[in-house]
Symmetry: C2
């Protein structure tokens, strides 16, 4: 027997409709790529998204077609997203920080028909032009006045858009229709495309904006610093319109001073980004002595949020930190670390002990941890294993690889992360599965060791990798970038770590380097480090 409720598909463009009707005048403020601050609102943004849809349609873009965006967070990028969504085409966000090779490979793999790019990326596209086989046209997200001389077959967005009016009706779609495409920056092999559906995006926005999770309200002024090309800007380009919140889009400038300027002038109440961004902001605040009187909440994820960062935001600036974990394959949010009633009355230190964890999932994400054979492990806050997830906004296959089984027999996706979970369901990442060190059959968490190492006052950055060992298979090696002027020694560091971990976790050696390699998304590139130290001979070997 079936329910007798209406068939109302969950479609992304219904979010902008809702915003345009019930929050029509709410601002979208952007730092434009051209420079000046630009202001619009949801009603106008929807009008222009409709025109964009009509223009795309007139240009022969059809449901299922892919259109690449190489763009910062601005109102134009949002318009393009909703315009594409409204005709069933896919927004394919390309991360401009990838290597040129990878960008070309991705655009070709996606078979993008149009590339919509910010001015910033015109030189890059000129270089890549000849390698982009499927691209029929380039649209530069600017107006005629700012259009550069270029050899590309390119038009300025504003002129292109002006060829259509907004008298257009969104196309009828079913909710499982593809909505967006985003490639994961795999460290080995070719990048893999994740194909979001309208349903998964809408459900992700709904579940992750629970009052205890992101909790964005119409009274918020939301600044997504995390780029739209970085896994849907953690859904904020959907959550904002859904909640009727004002949006503050930082455009191309993500240094501390530029972000502070927007936080302050635009009275931002809610923001989100990776830890490196917040390091720059905190440094700027320290240098200028300014505060954050408007900001209510900051979401920090993408890599582990250091305890000291949470402490600084909370104790010094009165801003609540929500540590979050996710991945491209999860739309991307998987867990958020918001406290429970059980935690009331904790001291600031005890709160921080919880907040270093990645948190608990919203309704709509199921989690388990297993050993290498897939057997479930206990949730005791200590035992760590492979973290696997299931839910309506979790990938079941990659683009052009629908037949490759990536789920376990129970339908769970292996995140590639290693984690433990406590009795309250708070998950903490202890490693990447491929980084975890297997010493004599037991696992050692490289992330935990790194966190301890950076706690030493002489250490600027630290990485731990496993290097081959004749007896134990692998043993940990600590790789350190020392702070300027500081002169840490092998023994000073190991003595610092020793009392804090089990004896067999203590690294077998320490090496000092000028620099640690990073991926395009700012994560430590352990594969490169491992390659560099493959033949390193440990003193214990």
């Amino acid at each position: 027997m079936r329910g007798l409720m209406q068939d109302w598909p969950l479609l992304c463009h219904r979010l902008i409709d809702h915003a345009a009707i019930y929050h029509s005048g709410r601002e979208i403020v952007s730092r434009s790529v051209e420079g000046p601050i630009h202001r619009t609102n949801y009603a106008r943004l929807r009008e222009r998204a409709l025109a964009c849809a009509k223009r795309l349609d007139a240009g022969g873009i059809r449901a299922g077609d892919r259109v690449a965006t190489l763009a910062w967070n601005t109102w134009r990028h949002m318009e393009v997203w909703y315009g594409l969504l409204g005709i069933g085409a896919l927004y394919h966000t390309v991360n401009p920080r990838l290597f040129e090779e990878q960008i070309a490979w991705i655009v070709n793999d996606a078979e993008d028909r149009i590339v919509m790019a910010d001015l910033t990326f015109v030189p890059l596209l000129e270089k890549l032009r000849d390698r982009l086989r499927s691209v029929e046209r380039f649209v530069v997200l600017t107006d005629a006045a700012h259009m550069p001389e270029t050899a590309l077959d390119a038009v300025p967005y504003e002129e292109w858009l002006a060829e259509a009016d907004s008298d257009f009706a969104w196309r009828a779609l079913e909710e499982n229709a593809a909505a967006g495409l985003c490639y994961t920056s795999g460290t080995t092999g070719h990048p893999k495309g994740v194909v979001y559906s309208h349903r998964s995006n809408v459900l992700h926005a709904l579940t992750c904006n629970a009052p205890d999770m992101l909790g964005v309200k119409s009274g918020d002024r939301v600044m997504p610093v995390v780029p739209m090309f970085h896994a849907n800007a953690w859904s904020l380009a959907f959550t904002g319109p859904m909640s009727g919140a004002a949006m503050v889009m930082p455009g191309p400038k993500m240094d501390g001073a530029s972000l502070y300027e927007l936080l302050d002038a635009e009275r931002v109440t809610f923001t989100a980004a990776v830890p490196t961004v917040w390091l720059m902001l905190l440094r700027h605040l320290e240098e200028t002595g300014r505060g954050l009187p408007h900001l209510r909440r900051v979401v920090i994820g993408g890599s582990a949020c250091p305890r000291s960062m949470t402490e600084r935001f909370q104790e010094r600036y009165g801003v609540e930190v929500v540590h979050a974990w996710g991945m491209t394959e999860m739309s991307p949010l998987g867990t958020l670390c918001s406290l429970l009633p059980e935690h009331e009355g904790l001291s600031a230190e005890e709160r921080l002990d919880i907040q270093v964890k990645q948190g608990r999932p919203p309704f709509g994400v199921e989690m388990k941890i297993t050993d290498d054979e897939g057997r479930p492990l206990p949730w005791d806050g200590r035992t760590f294993g492979r973290l696997k997830v299931r839910g309506p906004a979790v990938a079941r296959a990659y683009f052009k690889a629908e037949d490759e089984q990536i789920l376990d027999p129970e339908g769970f996706f292996d995140t590639g992360d290693v984690a433990h979970v406590d009795a309250n369901g708070f998950m903490q990442i202890t490693d990447r599965a491929k980084d975890v060190i297997k010493s004599g059959g037991e696992w050692i968490s490289t992330i935990e060791l790194e966190n301890l190492a950076v706690g030493h006052p002489d250490v600027a950055e630290a990485a731990v990798i496993g290097v081959p060992h004749p007896k134990w298979d692998e043993r940990p090696l600590l790789v350190v970038v020392a702070r300027k002027e500081a002169q840490p020694t092998r023994d000073s560091l190991l003595d610092f770590i020793r009392p804090q971990v089990a004896g067999w976790w203590v690294p077998d050696d320490v090496v000092f380097v000028e620099e640690i390699p990073h991926t395009a998304t700012g994560k430590i590139q352990k594969s490169a480090l491992r390659a560099a130290f493959r033949d390193y001979r440990l003193p214990t070997a």
Copy 2:
């Protein structure tokens, strides 16, 4: 092209799974029908719901079967809901306040196989027994010690439940499977059954719990005074587990003193009920001089929330009021009146001007107002018309009447309410379509006139109905119950109303009565009033 995200159906029992995992120890406190306060938690409630599912299954209840509940809000009622949901059977909530005839008709129409009833309703069922053709067995929601002598083929729930353990897996279901059945208390004709689906219930819980809407968090202690048999308790039996909030279930006692006792002893932070319930509470507070230090938010709906009630809660007791509107066919919530950033800085009086409105819809409810011919009317806060709605938790047909078209050509359901909407999308009910008075082709809102009339200090309750008029078709008649000791006159009331409305809105006459008839759900029964005054001769006729 389809998205490549997981197929994860939206199923109601996933809500209790989520609660049992991430909020296992959170309390469900109930005033039991037997008397004492009972305490359990989500983990145990889920265990028992699993046992209930297993027991139902062993008893031959299959997916699609209907099981009636005649029960107050208690932990046992919740267990039964989730147990039924978990095997794909339907919880059919029967409103015990209906006339006996109607109850018998409804149970027969639903073809309920089991009736699960509180002790309170055993005498009622004994009377109805012979007329309930489909019922195979009665389960009394109590234990053996409290089981009364009865001629019914009845077992106590606890003994029945003990025949199964909780080693059971929820049945696999698709999300459009029927989940629940609730009949609307139509004032004419037979009641009509609304069939909720798993999907509609889950989406309704998600959308209505947006941070700006219900906004229930894990730190809340939620007391649904609105009964589960009244349109899903406004979704709180789903929203609570989804959010991990503690639940406080008032059982059979909904008088002011009993509710106050729970609000106070259980530190309730969030509650919801119809205005009549709150009148009793406010009276109790006044008589006892007590306050509401724990309560943060009260949702008031089901009929219009008087301005004075909102004012009392907010100004005197510091409790935020959220006025809400909905109906059985909407799962039930349609709009909630939470304020926008635009409203910041308003005076208390100006806020109240907005809060008398029924509010704006969450994402997932679309609204329009039209004239009798279905043409859309402007949203100017004055022009009123038929209110129509569309969304994933809105009915498309009634039970056993799937082929009867109840939606307009655009797929909107006619709520039977008459309303205007302002430029911010705030809707205000001005009448029921069948109650609105059509005087010379123009509409007069009976609710607006009633609200004005009850503003007169001598008036206890007021109703306005249209009575036949030779020239104008219909003209308004004001029916009044005077306050004890007060002696209002026709002229004193009309003089009070006259300066506040257009001349042609002023009622043609006033009659004083001892009592105004009410429906089973506490609404003024205008059809009965109209019948009583059908032959009334207006002085103007």
